[in-house]
Symmetry: C2
Subunit: 215 residues, 2 copies
DNA sequence: TTGTTCTTGTTAATTATTCGACAAGAACTC
DNA sequence: GAGTTCTTGTCGAATAATTAACAAGAACAA
């Protein structure tokens, strides 16, 4: 455990960013199951990656294993949590209380990992005043004022595509540094704003493409 | 329009598969807006890709543009639909009628593009018999029989992680060729089964990572 | 102990992907 | 209709990502 990761500080490839949450998820399962140690070969076997890839990925952040032993599950999970930034809590705001917004707001997993939905907004007068995700649904008109008065880490857009860009602009205007976008449209933002897209239809179309690619 | 795509038949890089639905989405918007023609430079500008990448991506499937003109929006959209396999209809089965299942089932966009949810299953006796997505919610016990009697293209898993693998096994056993997986777990399947993962938490963790990567 | 088995982190080779540049040729201008 | 402007599809160079191989050293067995 005395070695330093050679590549610490290097730019992290896109693929590593995709795989880190997968490692986190599986390590959490292993820890719950009481598994104490695991090798890169076993991890690879379980998750369909090569062992070399897993070792290479981790080496961007440090040296967490031991020759002849592998990785201690709890220790590695702890490190991956640090890498992902899960030692802190994130405040989120949700715009859109339709079916998808409801599903996002009621998923307990986010809160459990430190992602708290602090407020919910919608434009539909029928929904305003209802309770959802432990919050009163507020009018979209109040969003700018809310962003002035509260520090928000992540803005969630769960609206139809027509509203996506304008909600995004409100978030950017209000100083929200990152956006989790479920609306099926490409958002234009300044470079410093981080956008993570979650496009259900795109995912389904990738599936269709891959079905046709073969036979 | 007489040239053949040089790379037609070559293996399609992962990145192209990710970008095709983005092109589809934007071209659909353009067509609705009545735009007739577009160049790779304009497409790139709108979607934050380089023009060269867009031309290169399309060249895997053919030559759809014209020098000095660019692409005809309707024509290119038609071609992209063909490439993605949207000329046919897909029958889907949804397992899990919780919040997320409800959101998936009630999204009209899927049906509009030819993806039909034909049946919904859940294990919760309180939900069975209720209507959802135009279907009666059936007991999970009936899934194997349903798969024997009906041709299903895509199985959707919208259950907690504990149930993910066993539902997946039922789909594979029942001859379902592809799986759209929302349950937060890695599925083990035979090589010929196509799995497309939609892990909300993973997406949120990627966002957190990127927030911490900078400051 | 001593030797054998594991398994890491790293390197170098391989493979894959992206991008700038350009010839070819259509569209547009006057 | 002659010349200029555009824009494609493709090539090769540059960049990026993955993988196989291996030295170093810990764990384990007898």
């Amino acid at each position: 455990m005395t070695l330093r990761g050679r590549r610490k500080g290097e730019a992290v490839p896109q693929g590593v960013v995709v795989r880190l949450p997968i490692y986190f998820r599986y390590l959490t399962e292993l820890e719950s199951a009481g598994v104490e140690r695991i090798s890169s070969a076993q991890l690879g076997e379980a998750l369909d990656f090569t062992a070399a890839q897993i070792r290479s990925d981790l080496s961007y952040f440090g040296s967490f294993g031991q020759q002849g032993y592998g990785y201690n599950v709890s220790e590695l999970l702890h490190q991956v949590k640090q890498i992902l930034g899960l030692q802190r809590v994130y405040s989120m705001v949700l715009v859109g209380a339709g079916n998808l917004g409801k599903a996002i707001g009621s998923y307990e997993g986010f809160r459990k990992r430190g992602f708290d939905i602090k407020a919910v907004f919608d434009i539909d007068p029928h929904l305003i005043g209802n309770h959802h995700a432990g919050c009163v649904i507020r009018s979209l008109d109040e969003l700018p004022k809310y962003l002035e008065e509260n520090q928000v880490d992540i803005g969630i857009i769960a609206t139809p595509k027509e509203a996506g860009q304008s909600i995004c602009d409100l978030f950017v205007q209000g100083g929200v540094p990152s956006i989790w976008n479920f609306s099926p449209t490409h958002l234009n933002t300044p470079d410093e704003v981080i956008v993570e897209d979650m496009h259900l239809t795109d995912s389904l179309l990738r599936l269709a493409f891959r079905m046709n690619e073969r036979g």
